[in-house]
C-alpha cells in the first residue's frame, strides 16, 4: 500500500484526473468507425497519439504526487487565503442561473440575474443597485451587439419586443 505524503492528496487527484482524460481520449479514438476511404494516416491515428501522450504525462504527474507533489513548492500557495466557499457558491449559482434561464427568459434577464449573484459573490452588499447596473450593462451590450454588429444573441421576452 502506497502512503500519500501529507499535503500531496490534491496533487494525486490531479495526476489521476489527467490519466482519466488520456484514457477517455483513447476510448473515443477506439470507437471511431473504420473508414472505407483511402488515407495514409487514418482518423484514428492522432487521437491515439494524443490520448497516449496525455496518459503517459498523467502517470508522470501521479508519480510526482506520490513523491510529495508539487503544490508545496508553489510560491502562490504559500500565503494563499483559505477557500472562500461563500464566494464560490454564489458565483456557481450565478453561472447555473444563467444556464437555466437563458433559453426561456432570454439573454438580458438571465445575464442580469447572473450579474447580481456574481457581484454578491465578490462582496457587493447592495443587490438592488447591482440589479439596475446589471440591467443597464446587459441591455447596452445586447443593443450594441445585436443592432450594431448584427450578432444574434438569441430570442427572449425583452429581445422580442426590442
Amino acid at each position: 500500500m502506497v502512503r500519500v505524503k501529507p499535503g500531496a492528496g490534491p496533487d494525486l487527484a490531479v495526476g489521476l484526473f489527467v490519466v482519466l482524460l488520456g484514457l477517455i481520449c483513447l476510448w473515443q479514438a477506439a470507437i471511431i468507425p473504420v473508414t472505407p476511404l483511402y488515407a495514409q494516416v487514418g482518423p484514428k491515428f492522432t487521437p491515439y497519439l494524443v490520448g497516449g501522450m496525455v496518459t503517459v504525462v498523467g502517470l508522470g504527474l501521479t508519480g510526482v504526487a506520490l513523491r510529495g507533489g508539487w503544490s508545496k513548492d508553489l510560491e502562490e500557495m504559500a500565503d494563499a487565503p483559505p477557500t472562500n466557499w461563500r464566494a464560490l457558491g454564489l458565483l456557481g449559482a450565478g453561472l447555473l442561473v444563467n444556464l437555466l434561464l437563458i433559453d426561456s427568459l432570454g439573454f438580458v434577464f438571465a445575464a442580469t440575474a447572473q450579474f447580481v449573484l456574481v457581484a454578491a459573490a465578490f462582496g457587493s452588499r447592495r443587490p438592488g443597485r447591482d440589479l439596475l447596473i446589471g440591467l443597464a450593462v446587459t441591455l447596452g451590450a445586447f443593443l450594441a451587439f445585436d443592432k450594431l454588429l448584427g450578432v444574434d444573441i438569441g430570442a427572449g421576452i425583452l429581445e422580442g419586443i426590442l
Binding site: 473515443q28 471511431i32 482518423p43 508553489l74 439573454f107 459573490a121 450578432v151 444574434d152
Partner: protein, 499 residues
Amino acid sequence: MDVWSGLAFGFGNALSITNLGWALLGCFLGTAIGVLPGIGPALTIALLLPITFQVSATGAFILFCGVFYGAMYGGSTTSILLNTPGESGSIITALEGAKMARNGRAGPALFTSAVGSFVAGTIGTLGISFLGPIVVELALKLGPAEYFSLMVLCFVTVSAVLGGSALRGLASLGFGLMIGLIGIDLQTGQPRMTFGVTELLDGVDVVLVAVAIFAVGETLYLAWRHVEGKQEVREVGRLMMSREDWKRSIGPWLRGALLGFPFGVMPAGGTEMPTMLSYYAERKLVRPKYREEFGTTGAIEGVAGPEAANNAAAAGVLVPMLTLGLPTSATAAIMLSAFQSYGIQPGPLLFTSQGELVWTLIASLYIANIMLVVLNLPLVGLWARILKIPTPQLYAGILVFATIGTYGISNSVVDLVLLYGIGIIAMFMRRFDFPQAPVVIGMILGPMAEQALRQAMTISQGDWTTFFTRPISVCILLLALLALVGPRLWTLVAQRRHA
C-alpha cells in the same frame, strides 16, 4: 512586393480615414479593456472576434493590432497602479513599477513604460517589415514534412520549455490538442471525440475556449481565494519625467527592445524570459548611485527595460504568425483563428496572395504605435479611473461579456455548459500551476499539424522515415528533442559536478 513598395502601399492604404478610425478605435478599446485587472490582450481580442461577421478583413485586423498593442500598454498601467499584472509579460513591470508608485513616482513609471512601449513597438515593427519577407523566402522552401517538424518544435517550446514544469506544460498542451480533435475529421468525414453529441460535430470554437480559460476560470479562481476588502489604486501624480529619468531610461528601452524581439520571433516565444532577462541586465548595468533603488523605492530602469522587452517580444510573435502561420502565444493563436474565419490561411503564401492586407496591417502597426503614445499620456487620468471600477461589478460584467462571446455566437446552451466546464478545469489549472497558453495553442495548431502530417505521409507514400531523411526536418526535430531534454540533462550534469 519588396519592402519599400510594400510599406508605401501599406501606408497609403492605412492612412485612409476608415482605416485610421479602426486603428484609433482599436487602440482605445485595447487600452481600456487591457487596463481592467486580470484581462490581457488574448481575452480582449477573443471578445472582439464577433466583429469579423460585419467588418472587412483589413478593417478587422487593423482593429485587432490596435487592440493588441493597446492591451499591452493597458496591462502595464494596471501593474504599476494596482500591482496586479494582467498577463505574464507584465509581472516584472509590476515588480519595480508598483514600488515606484508606492513612493509617489507612478507618473514617471507610466511615462517611461509608454515611451518604452513606443520605442520597442517601433523597433519590433521595423523588424517585422524587414525580417518578414526574408522568413517568407525561406519558408517557401519547406514542405509538409518540415512544417510538421516545425510545429512539433513549437509544441515542445511553448509547453515544455517555458513555465514551471515540462509535465504540467505537456498536460496543458494535451488538453488543448484533445479539444482541437473534437468534431468531424476533415479528410475522412468521421466524427471524432464527440461523445455522440450533435452540437460537437462542428468542433469547439476557439473563442469559447479562450473565454473559458481567461475569463471564467480566472474569475472562479479569484472567487476561490477572495478576501473581503478594497484594493488600493495609487495616485498618478506628476506625469512628466525629469531630465535624469530620460537619461536613465534611454539605455534600458533600447536594450530591452533588442533583447525582446528575437525572443518573440523564435518559436520559443513568450514574454516571460526576455522581460526577466532585461530586468536582471538592468539591475547589473545600473549606475552604482541608483543600485539602491532596485527592490526598495523602485528603479526606473527596472520598468523601462522589461516593458520595452515585453512589447518588442509581442511584436516579434507576429513574425512566425504572419510568415509561417505558427502562433507562439495565446494572443497570436486567437488572431490566427480570426484569419481563418475570413478564409485566409497565414503562412508564406500570405505575403503574395494577400500582400495588400499584410502591408496595410504592418503600416497600421506603426500608426497604432504613434497613436498609443499620443493617446495614452494625456488620457492616463481616464485609465486610472477605469481601475477604480469596484471588483464585484467588474467581474460580474466580465462574465456578462463571456456569455455574449459564446451564447451570442451559437445560441446554444451546450456551448454555455462547455464554457463553464472548461472554466472549472481552468480554475484548477490555475491552482495547480498548469500553464494556460499551451491549451489555446494546442487547440489551434493541433489540427494544422495533423494536416501537415497526413500531407507529408501521402507525399512519401506512407514512409515514416520521411521526417528523418529530409535534412531540414531532422534538424528541426533534433532541436525539439534538445529543447525537451536539454535543460534536464544540464541540471543532471550540474548536480554531478557539485557532488
